[in-house]
Symmetry: D2
Subunit: 351 residues, 4 copies
């Protein structure tokens, strides 16, 4: 980039699944220099020693995280630290003028009491909760352009809210009728030693889990409630797919009396006509995970079934892409004044 200096960007917690995906995306970003990477586990090692697919790319080594680590070394940080772990240090970053996109759930819930209920501890930086912008990009672009601190949405909430918010905003559905049946690849879980996510436990298997009590429910209900102007309760059923990446979400709703297909279509067009990343499919087409793999895209289609008086919307995203690192970069782009699509338009490798 001859005519403009690249912005220095840090990724903390860079060696997990969403972290290394952020590194992969940012390494090819036209306006970014990856200046600092941290990893608790691999501090002191070159990235390519741990992740050989990044060999040949000029990257700094993994370092240990310290509160003053980014001073003068980064303008913005994408944090892939787990919930609770990163809260104080991210607060310190914000205080010292470094912009933050937090991929954890720490700054998503506006209500400290809800945070305590969901995560079992008092929030370590509750004073920032109001300020934090919920980074579902397509619905918060103006705030994101001004944000110091962005709470990057959860993967499941992203897949669900892209379908729901357009309909809620136009009052096309009965809010009490929302059922979300979502199916995720295994990288939705952290890259941590476990028996539950061993290959032999997941392969050739499929199951629901945490029915009705998944941690992402308060986040979804908060955002839908905010759009609606009142509280709602929905049913969320996550499943574990024997694939590495991707979330397919089916949302079932009762349409308001009189809601037509063209109403639904218009609602999605209004929300996504200018979006480069949400693809409203043609009638008869249905989302497929492979079409969005390793990208920031979302495929979306809907069926208004008159026989059962049900509106079904299906979305497909990559949980590490639009569901995590991709959307974080999309938000970062806005925070830095770039085209939100910068560095994010590579097509999925299919097959």
């Amino acid at each position: 980039m001859a005519t403009r200096d690249r912005v220095k960007v840090a990724v903390v917690g860079a060696s997990g699944y969403s972290g290394i995906e952020a590194v992969r995306i940012l390494a090819a970003h036209p306006f970014v220099e990856l200046s600092v990477l941290t990893s608790e586990h691999y501090a002191g090692r070159e990235v390519a020693d741990v992740y050989r697919h990044m060999a040949g790319v000029d990257l700094p080594p993994f370092e240990e995280l310290r509160p003053d680590l980014l001073q003068g070394r980064a303008e913005i940080v994408l944090s892939c630290l787990p919930e609770k772990v990163g809260t104080p240090v991210l607060a310190e970053f914000v205080r010292s003028g470094i912009k933050v996109v937090d991929l954890s759930a720490d700054f998503r819930l506006k209500d400290p009491a809800a945070y305590r209920t969901t995560y079992g501890v008092d929030h370590a930086a509750a004073h920032l909760l109001r300020e934090a912008v919920y980074g579902l990009t397509e619905f918060h672009r103006p705030e994101l352009r001004e944000a110091r601190l962005v709470a990057n949405p959860g993967c499941y909430p992203t897949g669900a809210l892209l379908a729901l918010l357009p309909l809620i905003r136009r009052d096309l559905i009965e809010p009490s009728s929302i059922i979300i049946d979502a199916k995720s690849g295994t990288t939705g879980a952290r890259r941590a030693a476990s028996v539950e996510y061993l290959f032999a436990e997941v392969n050739e298997n499929f199951r629901a889990y945490n029915v009705g009590n998944h941690r992402h429910v308060p986040e979804m209900e908060q955002e839908i409630g905010a759009a609606l102007g009142r509280d709602i309760a929905l049913l969320f059923v996550p499943h574990l797919l024997p694939i590495t990446r991707g979330i397919l979400t089916s949302i079932f709703m009762r349409p308001r009396r009189g809601t037509s297909e063209s109403d639904v279509h218009a609602a999605f067009e209004a929300s996504f006509a200018k979006s480069r990343f949400v693809r409203i499919l043609k009638r008869g087409e249905l989302p497929e995970l492979r079409n969005v793999r390793a990208t920031n895209f979302c495929e979306l289609s809907y069926v208004l079934d008159k026989r059962s008086d049900t509106l079904l919307v299906i979305t497909a995203i990559d949980n590490l892409g639009k569901g995590a690192a991709g959307q974080a970069v999309q938000n970062m782009n806005l925070m830095l004044g770039y085209d939100e699509a910068a560095g994010l338009l590579a097509a999925a490798p299919v097959p």
Copy 2:
């Protein structure tokens, strides 16, 4: 078997996925002799030349199908022929006194007009539709013991009806609220040359298909309607899983006002207390496909979600087991006067 002669059993269409699964089950059945196997594609060849996993088992070679093929050679036949293809010859078998379990959809719909609408042709043996017993074993044992012709249920209807019929019978749910979100492995499709089911098209992918217009919908609506005493319309959303075997079905319903968890539990207990194959899981357990793989078992659990006023029931079956060949053998056992579980109790290989 020293004290009793084995019954001669034929499998026609024995080289497809459900056919060879029927052969595998019957080859280990204590009361059966597999006397005739047909395969259009492999006629004249030994089974073990085509399917080496059956090597070492004493089996007749694949033959061509002819209407008089089974005369004196089989008392009962399991037909794995496709829809329409087998209709006339099965009618001839019935006429000549051979008992028939048809795994195709040919004898499932009672109404010839519905058959014509769904399959695009007039039924070739419509006079047998009334007589045919719908072989969802747990709900039709008395008729099955007397049946000459059994219409073995479809894989998706089996997974759905095991959840729905107990609730419908006790009037615990709003029939108009039924939504069925089902996810099937690829052996739900025939073993036939195709691009759509190539490994590279299915692997690391996941998608819904035929939303709202799958051929199994009339079958489900017929059976629920019969239990209810009036017509209903439901929404059925099938998906294709990147696994070989198994169907996980999530059924969402609005409970009748006042329906309690213990009502739901009692309904399932009433239907399945004596069943060896339907496992009502403990509170907090959720069905997994691997637990039923290569078996005739069904795992079933339910969640009555007060927040969203929704009853969710999830079932797991093997589409080739309880969803096809397993249930066919279960029905055959009843038709021949055996314990319905004979030859069907081997545990799933896990992992």
Copy 3:
């Protein structure tokens, strides 16, 4: 079993992958009563609470392992404890008259020094090493019938030695030319929390590991050396397949001058003609993992390639079947005086 009492059999370390496979096989064994199961992790729990695929089978709960646990409660024990962990207690079992099949590597190496080199500790019961019979069933039937202590072979050695020993015995190959390229499913590794075997690390991936220094090499070299009458050194290259079960082993060798296809065939016939579990394939057929999945079978074929002067033998086994629990039961059958195939003849579920 009306005419004969079932033998009481214990499985210790029963909740790992080979342990629960042993339980699955023995639960359907016609002459066995599973009387004691131990699991460090799940002691006190019912088997079906942990492994629901065993629901409906009458099994004792998991217990803690103690040296005197089996007194009066089991005649024979299959041990699926890890190396080193089980050594003292197994020695105690032998001392107290309980027959032992050890699926770990503890009693496979005859030389305590080799054990120390390979496993880093002195053997805790070296006095039993000479007595222990190496349980590659097809080659040690007479000793197995008399054995008190059987060292069940490793999964990789089983796949390799079934190919090699017949050729070595007839002096058909150059012993110095042996190259073994083996590919295993992930259940070759223990069921223990790890990052390396997470689904997302294994899926859509393939790699070699431990080239030239795998722990199974001394075992293979010991057995080949014993057959040959002198030491040899071979090259062993294991790989990790993105599948749950199965090992495909390709063994490349330089044939002795004059070795013909019929010599090779005769060698395999001589070793396996009476075997129910090793299937010598027809010319042109090649082993497939799916044909032996969840069984004790081995598929074997060979190609004598004149152009390159190489003999290739390929074998397929299930690493949990003939490579672990299946062969352990086969050995147990001989130790107890049964047909070696008792309880082991169920065909693989294909597809």
Copy 4:
């Protein structure tokens, strides 16, 4: 690209697996305009109607192939047509001054008789065989810069020759000792309706095929023979992996007496020191398919095993990347005077 016009590039046979991969790569290529795409099956349809992952990219629709189709519309064509099908039309393209990279095997064998033996027909443009440059880029850069017609190597030969040619050139191994054990994902087979490559046939399975008689053998032997100066015969054993993309190739060789590790390392350094795409791994590292997925990279490592006097080299490539479309673009870059890496440096999506 403001300062330079993009080169017009056609892809014929663009809807198969290697074709659409070429389209994906070229759509993001900085110096290329995709001007013409053909597909027999999808002619007349927009690319994004068939392959939705390309939605949002400005592409011409699929057209029918005609000999004069590219006149004035493309400067160079990548042909993904099958063997035999494309021969005459590619000859016509060459005659009319359009540069050709042929991904089929049609122009790889220099000897028309070998072509006839391998493919069963006379070559339809044998006059071009001598001129065609074998496009294993790292070994033919000078000729590729001048080439009108490039025979892009097969996927298996690419994985094998990258390992073998450096060693042959330095005379470090016994040429008669070469054994190639290769494992490929399923996209090595065409995207055509078949039973053999159905998901349920490939998943959870693994097998060798075409042992000793694969069509790629003459190609490998030709190139090694050319480097060596005399004919050789090698043994090639391909396997089918249950993954979508990737080939891991293990090559076993007997080193010349005195060959040291540093000789081997020096040979690879000499061949690949300037290569951006072949990664010589550090001692102790072993190639993994996931690190090269959807890229043009090759991972390579070697083990000189003194015990068995064997040199093992392992390579990992993506069969659709360096094994097909990636290398085709690399060759195209050289033919057009660009940096060979243009458009090819995106990192693999891992996990």
